[in-house]
């Protein structure tokens, strides 16, 4: 497991150019949204002092007035975010194929191979989302039912216990499903089998502890979480806007997103070693 973990990191590093392209593609969506946001903000603020003061301090009064007097524009921004999310998801059916192809032993021609894998990646995404939604509804429904059952309870913290337990279970299940989804993607690319067959195989592989697949997935996802914690800790420790300025603040955020793209390739590269 550790060998796969480390080998995955090495392979991902060697694919830095691919990672940079993946990051750029996602960044284009972020920039599009930021442009729309800036246009709306410019309109709403209409030359107010906040156009400057927001650089140093996000005053809650500004947010209150934006919400109270300009919420229609804000809603339109949310609609745009939803449209961008749909476009991004569709694009990533192809890019998922590209990543999987890039971490296979015969990793050449992964852009073309990714396009060939896009349909099965799309189907796998659909299956994965359906299974994950089912799991979420199951956990959410159970928690809601338990809360209804205990609504007459006068024991302290009973709802907190139910909520905490449900959240922990949901997180664990989600991590497990992500592991299965990743293994299904790799399986589909390696064997050429269909989405349902690959997903079924992956459920069994992760479910029955094949090659410690779930443990490796947890380690990889934990590493991502650790990376995020480290990023946040540094970000909080450095008063970026005062010391380094807006440009560096944005670059700092994008560095994190590059690292997330790296983590994505690392995850699939490491898990590929198990098949």
């Amino acid at each position: 497991m550790i060998a796969a973990y480390l080998a995955g990191a090495r392979l991902a590093l060697s694919r830095w150019a691919l990672i940079s392209i993946l990051w750029l593609i996602t960044a284009a969506f972020g920039v599009a949204f930021a442009l729309a946001g800036a246009t709306w903000l410019g309109d709403a603020l209409d030359g107010a002092m906040a156009t400057k003061s927001l650089l140093h301090h996000v005053d809650v009064q500004v947010l209150i007035d934006l919400w109270a007097h300009h919420r229609e524009g804000l809603r339109m921004l949310l609609v745009l975010a939803a449209v961008l999310a749909v476009g991004h998801t569709v694009l990533w059916w192809w890019l998922d194929g590209v990543i999987v192809a890039a971490v296979l032993p015969s990793g050449d021609g992964f852009w073309r191979r990714g396009a060939q894998l896009a349909p099965v990646m799309a189907r796998l995404f659909g299956i994965g989302v359906c299974v994950w939604l089912t799991w979420s509804l199951l956990i959410g429904g159970a928690a809601w039912g338990l809360m209804r059952l205990t609504q007459d309870s006068f024991t302290a913290h009973v709802w907190e216990w139910i909520g905490g337990l449900a959240a922990a279970l949901w997180l664990l299940g989600t991590a497990w499903l992500i592991a299965a989804h990743d293994q299904a993607r790799i399986r589909a690319a390696l064997s050429g089998s269909g989405a349902i067959a690959s997903y079924r195989w992956a459920l069994g592989f992760v479910g029955f502890g094949g090659e410690r697949a779930f443990a490796l997935a947890l380690l990889l996802q934990g590493s991502g979480l650790g990376l995020w914690a480290l990023y946040q800790a540094i970000g909080l420790a450095l008063p970026l806007t005062e010391l380094i300025g807006l440009t560096w603040s944005i670059l700092w955020g994008e560095l994190f997103l590059w690292l997330r793209a790296f983590g994505r390739v690392w995850r699939l590269a490491a898990q590929r070693k198990l098949q």
Binding site: A32, K52, V58, A156
Partner: protein, 637 residues
């Protein structure tokens, strides 16, 4: 220090406090001879009932004879899903879902001056004519009662407590027993003044003297209005607590065997905190907030006048009982996981303790004029919070800072446009409008008055009002007169505009333009004018977009770093500043110090000649990165 209930030191402290109160040596609360209550009550925790006998004596204070008494029977508001209370709460199925949820009060006997009048009792519905509402009852007198004559009332009653939904009831072994006995309505200006029990209103009654005996299972810890004068062990597993209270207009009590008792003397007041074991970690927050409130009120308004104060942390499942005021007793609330920067226990404690003055001592009508207690209280609470905890006084967490003005503006801008401040609580559009208007708009109105007349003078004026009307029942007109007396007559038109209508206050900077003043063209054949330094005409136009007209300050900043300030009376729709000089205007701000917090839109209060973009890009870039991050998560699913 946490002590068991009934510890000797506590009993001694309460006894001393009671003796002081009785002798008048240390108490400032007057007695109220016109109305006395004697109630013997027994709590049955299994049946969730309080069985009691009430003896009341009322002296007609003066005026025309009265032919009936009016009684509040507010527990009947929980009797069915068709009462006025439940209808306004929109809880059609709540009683179906909670079989133990209902509450009511049954009168077994009712005698007036010894004569049975139970059959003569009739329910009245002055507010909405709802035939299913039995929260207000009229008892015809055997004979008209003349001025200065007394009448005696004896009632045996059984109060079935509802599951805690709103302010009163049971939640497991926790009992908050409020609005639990037949209470005489307030008598003002020669007439009874009373309303049915509504969702968005609280209470109003006359000051009285009370002697109440409370019998509960011995294991229960009890908190109450008034001071305990004796506790008896009845030898049958129960105990009886004798309580005396003066100069209060209601009596409420709580009981729970789980309470942990913390006694402290804070700002000279014996304070008893009854805290749930799972909230013990937050006891220090409650006590510190109590100290802050008692000290600030003593400094700004007047010292707490009663000989005891009880602060109650409701039990699990009793959230609806939290955040409520009764004379000498308040209920608060918290959550174990609440971070220190989210100051919910502090604000609830300070707000409810504030009601000891605005409702308790200055006993205005909470039903007809809720702004007099909730609004003033909300304003003073905000001043205390801001002065004590600084920026981010309400929330200071994860970089988000919310102070009293931000919170009040949020509520006002969402729901405060429907009703004038002076509207009766149950006449407002809904509960959201009630909260936004009675609490938050009033606080912003007072904040605006503070901006125009000075914050310290306003606090002093509120102190004058409190001292003038202590242990009396002022109206809105009395408050206006008191403020005019303290702040000057100029405050009256300001209050009239802000309190009596729904017009908005909104000033905006409409234009900041700079043009170069042309150099004089040489006349044909004339001399060429000597060169002179470039001069600019800076034109600033300020606009009044709302209906409210108040004087407002305008700041103009110039490119050489200089600033000018001038005041516009706000009477016309717009106001222009034309300045010709060698400097150019950079920006203008109307109401630069936010002296008019009621202004509906603070964004349009300023305008830059050359708007910045860096602030916009900082926020927009952050949103872009958030979206990117979310999309990465979605695709990685």
């Amino acid at each position: 220090m946490i002590r068991a209930p009934g510890a000797p030191a506590l009993r001694l402290a309460l006894l001393v406090a009671c003796l002081l109160a009785a002798s008048g040596a240390g108490a400032t609360a007057p007695t109220a001879p016109g109305l006395t209550y004697r109630i013997d009550a027994r709590l049955d925790p299994e049946a969730r009932t309080v069985t009691g006998h009430l003896h009341a004596r009322w002296v007609h204070p003066g005026g025309a004879p009265v032919d009936a008494l009016l009684l509040h029977l507010y527990l009947n508001g929980f009797d069915s899903n068709r009462t006025t209370l439940m209808t306004e709460l929109r809880l059609d199925s709540w009683l179906e879902r909670h079989p133990d949820g209902g509450g009511r009060i049954d009168l077994a006997t009712l005698r007036v001056d010894g004569r049975d009048r139970l059959a003569a009792l009739e329910y009245v519905r002055p507010d909405d004519g709802n035939p299913d509402d039995r929260t207000l009852a009229r008892v015809p007198l055997p004979r008209p009662l003349g001025a200065r004559e007394a009448v005696e009332l004896d009632i045996d009653f059984v109060a079935s407590l509802p599951r805690v939904l709103l302010r009163t009831g049971h939640a497991g072994p926790f009992f908050v027993v409020a609005q639990w006995f037949p209470k005489l309505a307030a008598f003002r200006a020669g007439a009874w003044r009373a309303h049915q029990f509504h969702a968005a209103s609280e209470f109003f009654a006359d000051f009285a003297t009370w002697d109440v005996s409370l019998t509960v299972p011995a294991a229960f810890v009890v908190g109450h209005t008034g001071v305990a004068t004796a506790t008896h062990d009845n030898g049958d597993g129960s105990k009886t607590i004798e309580v005396h209270a003066e100069a209060v207009h209601d009596f409420a009590w709580v009981a729970d065997p789980r309470f942990q008792v913390i006694d402290r003397t804070i700002a000279g007041v014996p304070v008893r905190l009854l805290v749930q074991p799972h909230h013990r970690l937050h006891a220090a927050r409650y006590l510190d907030a109590t100290r802050v409130a008692l000290e600030r009120y003593a400094e700004w308004i007047e010292p707490y006048p009663y000989p005891a104060l009880t602060v109650v942390d409701p039990g699990p499942g009793a959230r609806g009982a939290g955040g409520m005021e009764y004379p000498m007793l308040v209920t608060v609330g918290t959550s174990r996981w609440l971070p220190a920067g989210v100051r919910l226990p502090e604000v609830v404690t300070i707000h409810e303790l504030g009601h000891q003055w605005w409702y308790g001592i200055v006993a205005s009508d909470e039903v007809e004029e809720p702004w007099l207690d909730e609004g003033i209280n909300r304003y003073v609470e905000g001043r205390i919070m801001d002065a004590t905890y600084g920026p981010g006084s309400y929330v200071d967490w994860l970089g988000l800072q919310v102070d009293s003005t931000a919170l009040a503006r949020w509520s006002y801008l969402e729901d405060g446009r429907w009703d004038p401040v002076t509207t009766a609580s149950f006449r407002m559009l809904d509960r959201d409008s009630y909260v936004a208007t009675a609490y938050n708009k009033t606080a912003l109105v007072l904040g605006t008055v503070a901006g125009l007349f000075g914050a310290d003078p306003l606090l002093a004026a509120l102190g004058d009002y409190a001292r003038l009307w202590r242990f009396r029942q002022p109206t809105g007109a009395d408050l206006r007169a008191s403020l005019a007396n303290s702040l000057g007559p100029a405050v009256t038109p300001v209050l009239d505009q802000l309190l009596d209508g729904t017009g908005t206050l909104d000033y905006a900077v409409a234009r900041v333009d700079v043009r170069r003043v042309p150099t004089p063209a040489p006349r044909p054949g004339g001399e060429v004018p000597p060169p002179e330094p470039a001069r600019f005409r800076s034109e600033i136009v300020v606009e009044r977009r709302g209906e409210v007209r108040l004087p407002v300050e305008i700041l103009v900043a110039y490119d050489d770093g200089s600033q000018t300030r001038e005041t516009w009376d706000g009477q016309s729709r717009w106001y222009r500043i034309d300045a010709v000089s060698t400097r150019q205007a950079s920006y203008a701000i109307v109401d630069p110090d936010h002296r008019l917090p009621l202004d509906a839109d603070w964004l349009n209060n300023s305008r830059l000649r050359d708007p910045g973009t860096r602030g916009i890009w900082r926020l927009a870039a952050r949103w872009g990165i958030w979206l990117q991050s979310a999309l990465m998560g979605l695709s990685g699913l």
